[in-house]
């Protein structure tokens, strides 16, 4: 059996066809194709493609270089500009340009690679931004999709809602074509590899219809499915279908068992369906079932606010209009069910804004950064072209004298630029493909859809567009200027006719490059400082050598709280007995874990006017081992231990902030609190005070926190925390084994080292920092290269002057000063412009900064200094050349 044929690079084939005579093109491309397949089989497709490209370029170039008589004749005709009348004028231009570029490989390589850096960066970021930020949601008329929800206060986000309220909205709103309730759902599936927890959603039956999505296989949900007795039907994702059902077509109608209950698969969603809307948004979902509520359900009440509502605006409505209608409806509902609703009317927000809004700023910054980088690259290439066109003045002037029209010459110079841009675009595009993979790897988890941002025709189009813009920036000017060469001046030998004008242009570019590079370095520096500050925040726990994982005790077997507690005790005991494990515990809530459990409570002896004024704290229900496993620090009193079961006095711990906020300077130990505002709920005695822990993220100041023994309040979805100082590699396997032995139906999921949660809390910023740092480094490098070119050229141009000065007794230091003065004046101007630009634009970054001023003097100074050092480094070689000028040689040569 022959392996499938590898596709050859089509563009290369096209180039051969376009640039070579038909007969040669057929023979050569046939040969290359034939060998390509062999290379692909023996050395791999990637090697073969590279080989094909090398051969193509070499073949096209060599047919120019090893010119035959016929081709020499071409060249002559060409030089005289007579080729223009022929139909193959462009082909000729192209062939000639390939030959010219191939003759100076150093120039060509530098120009192409420099530009490719800019194109690759810009293409990568633009593609990523397109997916994450600019591209609409992948649903039909997605700009009409909205999130609808109640909220407590005006400045609150769009919140959750109860089922009956959704029904009223569905019936009473004209401005929304659909309002569909959804809720998170995480069933447990038994597989050969053990229990697996699936991410899913329970949705109103109209959900997929509203999104404009139809199952690829089977059917959508119907109104009949959305019923308390009949809701156990499933739509599954393409991924789950492939993975669990091997992509079998008879999956529709099959029964699936989740925690001992049967569900029937009714359909499979298309492979390209993006389940962006899930519990936390962006998270992957694999299974959907109808909500199946009835008004009589206890969980369907108006105050049972656990549902999110997704809606679709009627075609001609706007968000404000819909919000206004909703407010009227809300007022009506308040009149009927006053106790159930707050004063604040419900809110509506476009889903797209919600998805992309938070990434708008970081991506604006990144887009700006790559635009700068691209500019620097373009300026460098323009500089190279200008230098070159000064060298080629003679050639161009001769050709002009032989009768080539100015337009013709411009066209020729432009063709060379086009070729450089095209090659850079190709390389940049290829690099962007890797760039996107790297980007997806480096991106924080909450950046949506970046894994989808692979290179596709759009990326290619973006790359071509960027290449074209770059071409305009770097190519047009030198081409126009270069063709202005005047034979008289040139042949008379005054070499600097156009040179002076162009040198000034190039100097202006250097100022711009330095300025822009400085802005990038400052941006990167500010982000670096921010991330550094964040990572130095004391989270209140000791994350090193700690593994966390979640458990899900779903199913009939776990209905009894006693069974759950016994299992949890047994599991923790077994894990603590594992080799290398120092401590293990369970908690209902993990700091930095993305969940909240804010509870109101009452303090003995204190009263509050309204429930809103009552003390509130984040509640952690934990086993005794949790404190040691997390490395929490006790301030006062005692930790929870095995004695604190329901049989004894109810106890709790609080943190510093809670004490400060609610007890002031009084000693909290022995004080009593209780949950709920029933006067018959039991009192809980405070037994100790813990050090503060950062819960939401690293920058939000600590909030009041409460620790309760898990034996007093059972938790069915606990997080396991295991401390193993010697290392947590392989620990999850051991834990899984213990779990499988104890309860094979319980899945272990979200296995994450605690350190990773800390890093993830810095996520978007670290991402921004890394990218800005990368772009800044590239920018500094390119700017230094550009500066080197200018200084080097200036030294060459002034060799005579230097020689004369030295023969008149100038010392080396004076010569060095001469060279440096010119270069440093440019750099100084660039730094000044850059500092001003950074100060003006740093506001863009402000929201991302933490304990760092947007105008942080240290960062600005360090950045300017580092750029100055780079600039000085660019001076080293030309300076050495300048001070070694031998006056005798120079003057004799004159």
């Amino acid at each position: 059996v022959r392996p499938p044929a590898t596709p050859p690079p089509r563009l290369a084939l096209w180039l051969i066809d376009r640039l070579l005579s038909p007969a040669a093109a057929e023979a050569i491309s046939g040969d290359l194709l034939e060998e390509f397949q062999r290379q692909a089989r023996t050395r791999g497709a990637a090697f073969a493609r590279r080989w094909f490209w090398r051969q193509t370029v070499a073949s096209i170039a060599s047919r120019g270089r090893r010119g035959s008589r016929r081709q020499s004749a071409h060249e002559t005709r060409y030089a005289m500009g007579h080729g223009a009348g022929r139909t193959s004028g462009w082909t000729q231009d192209l062939r000639f340009a390939v030959r010219v570029l191939a003759k100076s490989p150093g120039f060509t390589t530098t120009a192409v690679l420099t530009l490719a850096v800019g194109v690759a960066g810009a293409t990568t970021i633009a593609t990523a931004a397109g997916w994450v930020w600019l591209r609409g949601l992948p649903y039909a008329a997605a700009d009409q999709l909205v999130l609808v929800g109640e909220s407590n206060r005006d400045d609150d986000d769009v919140g959750t809602v109860g089922y009956e309220t959704v029904l009223d909205w569905q019936a009473g709103l004209n401005s929304l074509d659909a309002v569909v309730p959804i809720r998170a759902w995480t069933p447990t599936l038994a597989t050969d590899r053990g229990a697996e927890r699936l991410n899913g959603l329970r949705v109103g039956w109209q959900y997929f219809g509203m999104l404009g999505v139809r199952p690829a296989l089977g059917r959508d949900f119907t109104e009949e499915d959305d019923h308390p007795e009949r809701w156990r039907v499933l739509l599954i994702s393409h991924r789950l279908w492939q993975q669990q059902f091997d992509g079998r077509l008879d999956v529709v109608g099959r029964a699936v068992s989740f925690s001992g209950r049967d569900y029937q698969v009714v359909g499979v969603l298309p492979a390209d369906f993006e389940p962006l809307i899930s519990e936390h948004f962006y998270a992957r979902a694999d299974v959907w079932a109808p909500l199946g509520y009835a008004v009589s359900d206890p969980s369907a009440c108006r105050t049972c606010r656990h549902l999110r509502a997704i809606g679709r605006l009627a075609p001609t409505t706007t968000v404000p209009a819909a919000t206004a209608e909703l407010a009227v409806l809300h007022a009506g509902l308040r009149a009927g069910h006053g106790d159930d609703y707050g004063e604040t009317p419900p809110k509506i927000a476009r889903l797209e804004t919600r998805f992309s809004g938070q990434f708008e700023r970081p991506f604006q910054v990144l887009m700006g950064a790559v635009a700068f980088l691209l500019f620097i690259a373009c300026a460098n290439v323009a500089g190279l072209l200008i230098t070159r066109s000064a060298d080629r003045e003679r050639e161009i002037a001769v050709r002009a004298a032989l009768g080539a029209g100015r337009l013709r010459l411009v066209r020729q110079l432009l063709t060379e630029s086009v070729l450089i841009a095209a090659a850079a675009t190709l390389i940049g595009f290829a690099a962007a493909r890797y760039g996107l993979v790297l980007l997806a790897g480096a991106a924080p988890d909450d950046l949506p859809r970046l894994d989808r941002a692979s290179s596709d025709p759009t990326t290619a189009a973006i790359a071509v567009g960027i290449g074209a813009v770059a071409l305009l920036v770097f190519g047009l000017l030198p081409a126009l200027d270069g063709a202005r060469a005047d034979l008289q001046t040139v042949l008379r030998g005054s070499r600097h006719s156009a040179g002076r004008r162009l040198a000034r242009l190039r100097e202006a570019m250097i100022v711009g490059q330095v300025a822009v590079a400085l802005m990038l370095v400052i941006g990167g520096g500010l982000m670096f400082r921010t991330v550094d500050r964040l990572l130095h925040v004391d989270p209140g726990f000791e994350p090193r050598g700690v593994l966390t994982a979640r458990l899900s005790l779903a199913g009939e077997r776990w209905n009894e709280a006693d069974a759950v507690r016994a299992f949890q005790r047994e599991l923790v005991d077994r894990i603590e007995a594992l080799p290398g494990v120092e401590a293990a515990g369970l908690t209902s809530l993990l700091p930095l874990g993305g969940s909240y459990d804010r509870r109101g409570f009452g303090i003995e002896g204190q009263t509050y006017l309204t429930p809103d004024d009552a003390p509130r704290a984040e509640r952690y229900s934990v086993t005794p081992g949790y404190f040691a496993a997390m490395g929490l620090r006790l301030r006062q009193g005692r930790l929870l231990d095995e004695r604190d079961t329901t049989a004894f006095e109810l106890v709790a711990l609080v943190n510093d902030t809670a004490v400060r906020t609610y007890w002031g300077s009084a000693n909290p130990i022995g004080q009593r609190i209780r949950f709920g505002d029933d006067s018959d709920s039991p009192w809980v005695t405070l037994a100790g005070v813990m050090h503060d822990v950062r819960h939401y993220d690293l920058e939000t100041p600590p909030i009041p926190q409460l620790y309760l023994p898990q034996s007093q309040s059972t938790d069915w979805y606990p997080t396991l925390v295991v401390r193993a100082p010697a290392g947590i590699d392989g620990l999850s396997g051991l834990i899984r084994r213990e779990l499988a032995a104890l309860a094979p139906d319980v899945p272990l999921y979200d296995v994450v080292p605690l350190e990773e949660l800390q890093t993830a809390a810095v996520g978007t910023r670290a991402f921004l920092m890394r990218l800005l740092g990368l772009f800044a480094a590239a920018a500094v490098l390119l700017a230094a290269v550009g500066l080197y070119g200018v200084i080097s050229q200036a030294v060459t141009g002034r060799e005579r002057e230097i020689g004369i000065r030295m023969s008149l007794g100038a010392r080396r230091a004076e010569v060095a000063r001469l060279v440096l003065r010119r270069g440093l004046a440019l750099v100084g101007a660039g730094l000044a412009v850059g500092l001003a630009g950074a100060a003006a634009s740093s506001r863009l970054l402000e929201a991302q900064l933490f304990q760092t001023a947007a105008l942080d003097p240290a960062t600005y100074a360090t950045a300017a200094l580092s750029l100055l050092v780079a600039a000085l480094a660019a001076h080293v070689l030309p300076l050495r050349r300048a001070v070694r000028v031998n006056p005798n040689l120079i003057l004799r040569g004159d």
């Binding site: 051969q55 060599s62 090893r66």
Partner: protein, 115 residues
């Protein structure tokens, strides 16, 4: 004038010799791929397909080789092969080149450190 003499078929360049030898070795199966491989295998030189055709076309215009289209094959993407063979003047020219090279090389082996 020198160029003219070369063009008129007076003598052969080094690369032309390589190509002619390769065609000679590969006849009657001498086309781009086999010629390229022969040069690569025997002379250890990597050359581009384009360079070979440039040379072959020049040799053909000087009457030293002749060529004909072969059949298109699927692995060539439906493209035809261009087969080359030496003409009588081609054999003559290559032979002459070789003779002169051999007589020039006589006794040089030791000085060049070759066996």
């Amino acid at each position: 004038l020198l160029l003219l003499y070369v063009v008129m078929g007076g003598w052969l360049g080094e690369f032309e010799q390589l190509v002619l030898f390769a065609v000679l070795h590969m006849e009657p199966d001498a086309y781009g791929v086999t010629v390229r491989q022969a040069i690569e295998d025997r002379a250890g030189r990597a050359v581009s397909a384009g360079a070979i055709y440039t040379t072959l076309e020049r040799l053909e215009s000087r009457g030293l080789v002749t060529s004909a289209w072969g059949e298109p094959t699927p692995e060539r993407g439906g493209k035809r092969k261009r087969f080359y063979r030496l003409t009588a003047p081609g054999r003559e020219a290559l032979g002459r080149s070789w003779d002169s090279m051999r007589s020039m090389a006589r006794g040089a082996a030791q000085k060049l450190g070759r066996p």
